[in-house]
Symmetry: D2
């Protein structure tokens, strides 16, 4: 099951070399994860239980740069690596062209910044 | 004629005080202007004629802060103030609540960074 | 009494037009205000009293763009407009050239997001 | 030989979870690389030869979050992996505490976006 989020490239995303600044793909990836997990569910987890997601590992390979005005599709798949960790394979495409290939590992922490199991609602969603 | 762009508030947009970082409303406003003017037209102007838009003046009043997970609507109206300047009245709303009230003046420059008249296609669109 | 903060322009600050993205001057201005007010004092106010500063109004006029590799000086003066509001006149220079002319009004809010008087330590500093 | 760049954490760097937004460490790392390589040299390479650096790979492990007001030291070592690639080991510390552990691979491209050898001035600097 692949989740797809289309992202528009704006002025704010580019740098003076003419393409999207490399760090911004981490922002695009996070937007996609939030939609995949459910924004309302994330807000509820935060407001009710003070449970938040933290990025534990991130790796990216950059193939080609997106430019102002491009539409980029963020394609995401995810698997539970353990009760504590979810691994997202996330790739940015412009049409059929792979621009960036990434893998992001998430964990959850409570209000005291202690590692906690991924919430049931998330584990069900990813199962 | 009012243009409306819905914007989702992500982690990247907020700061440690819990609300959207003030400078990011300028990003939201620019996204809205780009859609209003037409992203393809802006790309074509840039690639063909090296004509780009620059912000000449910006002012904002901040009433209330948007939070993670909110959907914010950017409501924009625009008028030609002269053949060289377009003035955008841009406001951010969460539902009926006005969050930020802004006014942005744009001008156009060519590849040598000289002020030029707003392109015909833009003046027609705004007329 | 003018406060000067030198800021280096990095890739992250520019956009594809070749100059610093307009919203980023608000970031530069905020960095300068934080140094002027005292970073440690701001942290203490936040951690002890949950008092934070919020931008109430911001206006900027853009004269010229800074480029990658430039050093920009943020020159700031400030006055107490009332027990609740501080007004910062903030300008970005490259050498003697004025790039951006800004005025930022700050207020303080408590942990319930209620307006409070500017803390004594701040009023003394600005007096 | 280790290069150290101190970085101040501002409001703009944090997100609503209270710590520095993960993508921003890529910005900190790039600032450090620019100082290590020499900002003036990078500007000259770009303006004279249209040669720019691109990030080819990036990986990070996040241990602990920096907070508003922290000073973070970016510690960088670098080696030439080939005539075309430089590998930077970059770590963010708060005092003695390792916050983020990263590795960034850079390559160079010319004005047509073609891969070119790292410039002599860079290879000398890194040798």
């Amino acid at each position: 099951m692949e989740h797809v989020l289309p992202v528009q490239v704006y002025y704010e995303d580019t740098d003076h070399s003419g393409v999207v600044y490399h760090a911004n793909y981490l922002k695009y990836f996070e937007r996609a994860r939030e939609h995949l997990l459910g924004v309302e569910e994330l807000v509820a987890l935060w407001e009710t239980d003070r449970v938040g997601f933290v990025v534990y590992k991130a790796s990216m390979t950059f193939k080609e740069g997106a430019r102002f005005g491009d539409q980029v599709d963020i394609r995401t798949t995810v698997r539970l690596a353990s009760p504590y960790r979810a691994v997202f394979v996330q790739r940015a495409f412009r049409g059929d062209a792979l621009l960036v290939d990434g893998e992001i590992e998430l964990a959850c922490v409570d209000g005291d910044n202690k590692l906690v199991k991924l919430p049931g609602i998330v584990r069900e969603r990813l199962a």
